[in-house]
């Protein structure tokens, strides 16, 4: 392309286009910052002879300061044009960019000033000044680079101030299609004027093209010449196969359909060919010649026909991704189109005012009122709303006098129907506060927290506490991590054999999710979106290790794991043969699901024998209005799978989760076993389960919402009554269970150890929480924390075990934890000073069991303390040589002195209460 001065100086109409102006000006400081530095260095090297270098350096930095100021000013102008609806994240980023840019001005000015010092005669002073200037120059350069990077990210990454936001809105109507691409002006760019396909030759070129352009006759040969090397065959790049008409319409994994019939400017393929999308296609070759570009354009503008005379291709609206689904919905409702356009690059929704009246069959550009830059979450939410709207009506809670809470109404309904009494009692405040702390934060309340709650005896104080605890986001999230780590097979390290190839080493590695789980629950991410991230490779938060794709066995395992955890459906038996005990799951039905986890159709291997029969993937539940087949290509498949898994019409997804919540808080699921939901067995309260699931979905898959609902019910707040506990028995799966009393729930290793540390005045929060510990010592292991998580676990064995009791009784870890703790030592000193007292016993009871002692308990405890302090000849752990790594937590210097016996006696009481069933269970 010949160099053209007129082109070089043609900035377009800059005054009316602040973003453009800004974009032009910002590169000047970059250039000057790069230019100035060598001058300073030259001045340093040349010594006294460096006058010219110094002058140039000085000039460069003065100019830089000026240019930066100009950039700041044009930037300000540009920001004014930004819509007010910019998300907060982006507003912040714009602000930061602005701030940094202003600092660039100062960097330039200061550097220039330091260089000016370098004009003095004194050699040492000059050298010093120039050295400092050099450093300052480097800093300036880095600052400019960082500022630029931030700006570029805003424009290219987020589209703020990019040409994208000044695009014209056009109706997707027949008129629009007929009008073709050039009914509306495009913003001029520097490049445009040197682009023949847009220049004056355009008309001539257009005229030279065939009247009717079609795929087979005209376009396919162009694709063949330029695109097939990558975009054809069995595994085309980005799943985009241009070698068939269907492939073109289906499009690729990244941008969706390659053409949008009637809309060449919006068609991804045109954007790639023109370089509006990077990389310009064909990649690594010269751009297509103008006539070929125009040929494709004309073909699309004419409706992208397959062959001459064929009907105009319908835009293929797939449901592959929710946002495409959204497009589809909008296309079905033309009246809404007057307000909304979905950008074809699927990143913006533009809301525009109604268009000017059409003239000459063209559509005038509509004025842009507002645009929403929406993340994929927002799109998914919109899709979800539409799907939730088509749910059948939820069962209504039975109307029972005096029972307001919907959960209680269902529970009461069943009791009344069975002729049983509906209990009126709720547990005491002390019982409640311990129960709810353990359930929401995974840790017992401190005495102060108990006092604060019990003191607040006002109406609704339990609801207030529940809300307050749910708002303690870090504690809330911390308590969820162990459960999901177990369920997702989260493993912190690779099971690696250094001799192995990487492929071998990562086998069995399901990914490490502690941080992701923690962050997501901290933010209370909607559950469906969170789960989608495990499957959908297109989501920014995608967890790529979850779906293992290696050998068939791994694929089957991935599918079975996902089905178990998210559909509550045990399919593992069906991986080798038809499910033994559940006619619902034939092997081929399981394989239909498993296919979504694989690139290819799966071959049926029946009891280790290859059958040569392949099964195409199909989602296992019929979800009306959804495409149940798997599209080709892993990415598309993963996106489809995610969508089908979390779809509101999926009969098991939400139910499985609310059932897990019920089990977590009441001790057993409404449906048991929780991982074996099946058609031939009913839940204890089927309507309640259905109602909870629907309520959960209608409230945006908000886990906290459903938790709050359960925790505020009287059913949750009942006192524990052993004779009212009905345990699920596999031999009588349909025996009624009424939930008149919660079950005793064994504390998990994490709940137990965090609570003990809290009661002992040790660090227990933040990084000290047990789930954060990367290495496992015998104590948490004995208490049931998973050593490795190669297999899914949604319920830890809760049986007491001898090994565990021995660890608590004689294990060094627990011993050191209790006896050398700050609280034990403090109380030990008080015991030494004042002797045993009721208040002392009460403090220990309140600290450990979250209640005061009874008279008998106080007496027994006081007697024990008095007796033990006389008898014990005891060496607390802090005085013996503990291994170095334990010193930090175990040893507390000083203080013990002559109160060793008393501390040991107090330690005994703490130990006994920690190890007591009352502490070991949540009741």
């Amino acid at each position: 392309m010949p160099f053209s001065f007129s082109g070089f100086f043609d900035f377009g109409d800059l005054s009316s286009n602040a973003p453009m102006l800004h974009a032009t000006v910002v590169h000047l400081p970059v250039a000057l910052a790069m230019l100035g530095l060598p001058f300073i260095l030259a001045a340093l090297v040349l010594g006294e002879r460096s006058v010219a270098a110094r002058v140039l350096a000085f000039a460069a930095y003065v100019a830089l300061a000026g240019a930066a100021l100009l950039a700041v000013k044009t930037g300000e102008l540009a920001t004014r044009l930004l819509p007010g609806t910019l998300p907060e994240r982006l507003q912040e980023a714009v602000g930061r960019h602005q701030e940094m840019a202003e600092q660039v001005v100062w960097f330039g000015a200061v550097t220039a000033a330091i260089i000016a010092l370098g004009f003095v005669r004194a050699r040492r002073l000059r050298l010093a000044a120039l050295s400092v200037a050099a450093l300052s120059g480097v800093a300036t350069l880095l600052w400019v680079a960082q500022t630029g990077r931030l700006g570029a990210k805003l424009v290219y990454g987020d589209g703020v101030g990019a040409p994208a936001i000044v695009i014209e809105t056009r109706m997707y109507s027949a008129q629009g299609a007929a009008a073709g691409a050039h009914a509306t002006p495009r913003p001029e760019t520097g490049e445009a004027s040197s682009d023949p396909e847009r220049g004056p030759d355009r008309e001539a070129l257009l005229a030279s093209l065939p009247a009717d352009v079609s795929y087979t006759q005209n376009v396919e040969p162009v694709f063949r010449d330029h695109c097939y090397s990558c975009h054809s065959g069995a595994t085309p790049e980005h799943d985009l196969n241009l070698s068939s008409f269907a492939g073109v319409l289906r499009g690729g994994a990244k941008r969706g359909p390659a053409v949008i019939p009637g809309h060449p400017d919006d068609s991804p393929i045109m954007k790639h060919v023109r370089g509006e999308y990077q990389p310009r296609m064909p990649k690594g070759e010269l751009p297509l010649s103008p006539d070929r570009v125009l040929l494709i354009e004309k073909w699309i503008a004419q409706g992208a026909r397959e062959s001459a005379g064929a009907p105009v291709a319908q835009e293929r609206v797939s449901r592959e991704a929710p946002w495409q689904r959204l497009t589809a919905e909008l296309l079905d409702e033309p009246e809404r189109l007057e307000q909304v356009e979905v950008r074809r690059d699927l990143r913006y929704v533009l809301t525009a005012s109604a268009p000017e009246p059409a003239r000459d069959n063209t559509v005038a550009p509509a004025r842009l009122d507002r645009f929403t830059l929406f993340d994929e979450d927002a799109l998914r939410r919109v899709t979800r709303e539409m799907r939730v709207a088509s749910l059948p009506p939820a069962p209504a809670p039975p109307a029972i006098g005096g029972v307001a809470h919907p959960i209680d109404a269902f529970i009461a309904g069943q009791l009344t129907a069975a002729g049983l009494e509906y209990p009126a009692e709720v547990c005491s405040d002390e019982t409640f506060v311990r129960r709810v702390y353990l359930d929401v934060l995974g840790v017992i309340p401190s005495p102060a927290e108990i006092e604060a709650f019990v003191g607040d005896g006002g109406a609704g104080h339990r609801e207030r506490l529940i809300d307050a605890l749910l708002d303690q986001t870090t504690g809330y999230a911390a308590h969820w991590v162990p459960f999901w780590e177990d369920a997702l097979c989260s493993t912190p390290n690779t099971i690696s054999d250094p001799q192995k190839s990487k492929k071998d080493a990562t086998l069995g590695e399901h990914g490490h999710y502690a941080d992701w789980i923690f962050d997501s629950f901290k933010k209370n991410r909607p559950f469906d979106l969170w789960v989608s991230e495990l499957f959908d490779a297109r989501m920014p938060g995608h967890q790529k290790d979850y779906v293992l794709r290696w050998v068939q066995m791994e694929v089957l395992q991935s599918a079975a794991n996902a089905a178990q955890v998210f559909l509550g459906t045990s399919m593992k038996c069906a991986s080798c043969h038809n499910h033994f005990s559940n006619p619902e799951w034939t092997q081929s039905r399981f394989f239909e699901l498993a296919g979504f986890f694989s690139t290819d159709d799966l071959e049926v291997v029946r009891c280790e024998k290859h059958t040569g029969r392949y099964i195409s993937p199909k989602f296992v539940f019929d979800l009306p209005g959804m495409d149940l087949d798997a599209p080709p290509g892993l990415e598309a498949r993963s996106a489809r799978l995610a969508q089908l898994m979390v779809d509101p019409l999926n009969p098991r997804f939400a139910k499985t989760l609310v059932n897990r919540l019920w089990q977590r808080f009441l001790g057993e699921g409404l449906y048991e076993p929780i991982d074996d939901l099946r058609e031939d067995r009913r839940a204890s309260h089927p309507e309640l389960l259905e109602w909870l699931a629907q309520d959960f979905m209608r409230n945006g898959f908000d886990v906290k919402h459903t938790m709050r609902l359960i925790l505020t019910s009287q059913t949750y707040q009942r006192p524990f009554r052993a004779d009212w506990v009905e345990e699920f028995a596999p031999e009588h799966p349909d025996a009624p269970r009424y939930f008149r009393s919660p079950h005793l729930r064994r504390l998990t290793a994490e709940q137990m150890l965090d609570s003990a540390r809290k009661a002992l005045g040790r660090a227990w929060d933040g990084d000290a929480r047990t789930f954060r510990a990367a290495e496992l010592s015998p104590l948490p292991l004995a208490l049931g924390r998973a050593a490795t998580r190669n297999e899914v676990s949604t319920k830890r064995p809760a049986d007491p075990a001898v090994l565990q009791s021995l660890e608590l009784m004689n294990g060094r870890e627990f011993h050191d934890l209790v006896y050398a703790s700050p609280v034990v030592e403090t109380i030990g000193r008080e015991l030494a000073a004042q002797g045993a007292s009721r208040s002392l016993a009460d403090r220990i009871y309140l600290g450990v069991l979250s209640r005061r002692s009874s008279d008998d308990e106080a007496r027994t405890t006081m007697e024990y303390l008095d007796r033990a302090r006389q008898e014990t000849a005891f060496t607390p752990a802090s005085n013996v040589d503990v291994p170095a790594k334990r010193v930090a937590v175990a040893a507390r210097p000083g203080g013990a002195g002559n109160t060793v016996q008393e501390s040991a006696a107090v330690g005994d009481v703490f130990w006994a209460l920690f190890v007591s069933p009352e502490f070991q269970y949540n009741h």
């Binding site: 129907a417 002729g419 390290n493 099971i495 690696s496 054999d497 190839s501 492929k503 071998d504 069995g508 050998v551 395992q557 045990s570 593992k572 991986s575 005990s581 559940n582 076993p673 991982d675 031939d680 006192p719 524990f720 009554r721 052993a722 596999p730 005793l744 292991l781 004995a782 208490l783 049931g784 050593a787 490795t788 190669n790 297999e791 064995p797 049986d799 007491p800 075990a801 090994l803 565990q804 009791s805 021995l806 004689n810 294990g811 060094r812 011993h815 027994t860 033990a868 014990t872 607390p876 005085n879 013996v880 005994d908 006994a912 007591s916 069933p917 009352e918 070991q920 269970y921 009741h923």
Partner: protein, 487 residues
Amino acid sequence: MDRRAFLKSAAGLAMISGWSAAARAEQYEEGLRATGMPRPTADAVIVVWLPGGISCGEYFDARPFTPFQAGMKASEMLGVCPPIPTTVDGVQFGTGLERMAQIMHLGTLVRSLSTNENFSFDHTRQQFHLLTGYAFPAGFKAPSLGSVISRVLGRRHPAVPGYIDIGRETLESFGQGPAAREFVNEFHGPGFYGVKFAPFVVDDPRKPLETLSAARGMSEAQVDRRLEYFRNVTGLAPESLRDSPRHEEYLAVMQSAREMMDSPAREAFAFREHESEETLNRYRVAGTSFGQSCLVARRLIERGARFVKVNYPFQPFNLIDTHRMSPEMNTVPKSQIDKPLAALVRDLEERGLLDRTLVVVMSEFGRTLAGKDGVRVSASNDDLRISWMKGEDMTVDTVEQYGFHGHFPLRNNVLFFGGGFKRGFAYGRAADRHPMVAIENVVSISDVHASIYQALGIASDVYYLSEGRPVRVTKDGKGTPIDALFV
């Protein structure tokens, strides 16, 4: 709906599916078999675990010695050490197992264990398979042999742990990190059975279980005084709690933990005080505690242990993991195993314990003879591996190569002594030509497990429920006891 109507409809649902009836027809209960368990021929088991992959030709199934000659064809290599006769005709061991050779008439040798599945060429995953009976990944947390046996049969003596695991060396010192160690812990462990059936792990046979004694600084008297206070205050706990069977069960377990502290098992570790110098010498081998582990195993069995596992250390690229011609790999392990193992079997026999105690010696896989060091074939490509193992196109140029024994699960040996197994018997055969796969009476890991279970009176399809699904003690309940091995 009243209760009866509800029950009716629930029953109706079950009838429609027919599942409920089918489940009843199965006539099993967790851990039991209604149609009867086999008659046990053993009450206790010692598994001697030799991880690393024994080279069958150098251990229990030796072939003619073909000394190293530069340029020899790999397929002509038959054995890298001279064979020695045993007390059983037709069974030859490798040099270095002279004492074992003298007790072969007390045992049964299976020469034809073969596995060919994903990862069966991989140490830890094949160890998983050998110890749990399920190939990795199993799809559930698979329990190991010891946990299965101690769960189905319970303790033999009420205060002696059902499953004791002695001398297992961790992998940490080999740069494998905690995850590898925990993975190994897992397949030696209770799987989905939970802590209740976890092994009592004894790192060093010279020290008893740490938690069987009071914590440092405490006397047993203090432990008991504290426990008395514990019983007093738990007896005063809120009544509703005390009514719960969970409460009761929990206290009972605490009580049995205390009883365990007086366990005769503790005594088993005090062998230096209680065994004669002669006995100590019989087991002692310099440089390893394996001998003491074997001795402790015998003492534990005497005191009522159900299942004891004695571990030889696993060190990748060292000891049994024979990847080089070197004393550490070719002579040291045999010299450390030979004496104590022979002593253990003889000792049990002399004390009249061998009849009702089964000793099983096993390893994760066998080994090929020659290989090309540095050539690694992806685990998924077994065909290529096997053709490479034939060695027809390969010449052996260096001693390194002569001693490079690759992993080979298609031929593995298991030794059984006592517990109802035949004496002086060999079963199955491996080919004479490379790659010397098991060719006659080939058995699977499930069959080996089923045989062990049969000796103990456990049917191979006994199950426990995991997530509502029956998990059987051998894979899908399909392990077949090898009848020929039994008396």
